[in-house]
């Protein structure tokens, strides 16, 4: 395939970046959720609806 180097670089960076971002979101979510009491973890279930 012509330009294979460019293709691999482009696709690689793209999928890699999106994958890393997704991973970091998941990790961040996990580390935050353990610190918040259960009943206040989601928008829909909290009492005050500011």
């Amino acid at each position: 395939m012509t330009h294979l180097g460019y293709l691999l670089a482009g696709w690689g960076i793209t999928l890699g970046a999106l994958g890393i971002y997704a991973f970091r979101l998941a990790v961040r979510g996990r580390s935050l959720a353990v610190r918040v009491p259960v009943e206040r973890r989601r928008w829909m279930t909290s009492e005050d609806d500011s």
Binding site: M1, Y6, W11
Partner: protein, 251 residues
């Protein structure tokens, strides 16, 4: 009347995100299959046309994401909607990722196709770069700390300023460069092959699902951060009250 005990997990995932996430993975696998083994090479560009499958979806989602941020900014300023404020922030962050990828993939695509990593005469490219810097600025303003409401207002104003000035920036770059290397709307001029077109649209859909997945997680993260911040504030107030009570109730 007490509510049944909640069973919320200690992470930001849910059935919805699992389904969305699975869909993304399947979608990406399909894109690779179609993009590299089914879609034909282009008459002019040879195989570098396959960059279109990651470049165009990234560009489309950039505009979607920043439009959502613009709308969210207006909704905060107009209705003081916390929900919209969180949406605006989350969308901006994800948008910056897509925008960066748009620029990078565009640059990598440009090299074998037009023998240049960057073309100043390309209006869309230049405007996207300026947009990228503006949204970095938006995120910077968000991270400057201070009263939650003030931060939201500042960021919202930046969002509105960006939204209003982008058309002017686009017009000025357009006039500046009469020519553009950028492909004239490859979608409508019929130069794309069947499978290329299909895979590109598939890419847009997959990127859209990824955006939704990310927004869900990012929204929940922002919510949790707020809860923690408010929790700290509540604790501090409670501690102060305890102090006052202990010292005889005289403040």
């Amino acid at each position: 009347m007490t509510n049944p005990p909640l069973d919320l997990p200690a992470h930001t995932g849910s059935r919805t995100t699992q389904v969305l996430g699975a869909a993304v993975l399947v979608g990406v696998a399909t894109m690779i299959l179609l993009g590299f083994f089914v879609a034909p090479e282009d008459d002019l560009m040879a195989d570098s046309v396959r960059m279109i499958f990651v470049h165009v979806p990234s560009a489309i989602l950039t505009y979607v994401a920043f439009s959502v941020t613009a709308v969210g900014s207006v909704m905060w300023l107009w209705k003081r909607s916390v929900w919209w404020d969180i949406v605006a922030h989350s969308s901006a962050e994800i948008g910056v990722v897509f925008c960066g990828l748009t620029l990078i993939t565009g640059s990598i695509w440009g090299r074998p196709t037009w023998n240049t990593y960057w073309e100043w005469g390309d209006v869309r490219l230049v405007t996207t770069l300026i947009l990228f810097v503006m949204m970095i600025g938006y995120l910077a303003v968000r991270s400057m700390g201070g009263d939650e409401s003030a931060v939201a207002t500042r960021a919202a104003v930046v969002g509105v300023i960006a939204a209003i000035n982008i058309p002017i920036i686009n017009r000025s770059v357009e006039w500046w460069a009469d020519r553009t290397l950028h492909q004239q709307s490859s979608i409508t001029d019929g130069k794309l092959e069947d499978w290329t077109l299909f895979t590109m649209f598939l890419g847009i859909v997959v990127w859209g699902v990824f955006y939704t997945w990310s927004m869900t997680h990012r929204f929940r993260i922002a919510w949790l951060e707020r809860e923690l911040r408010d929790g700290d504030l509540d604790e501090a107030i409670a501690a102060r009250r305890a102090e006052a009570a202990a010292s005889g109730g005289v403040s």
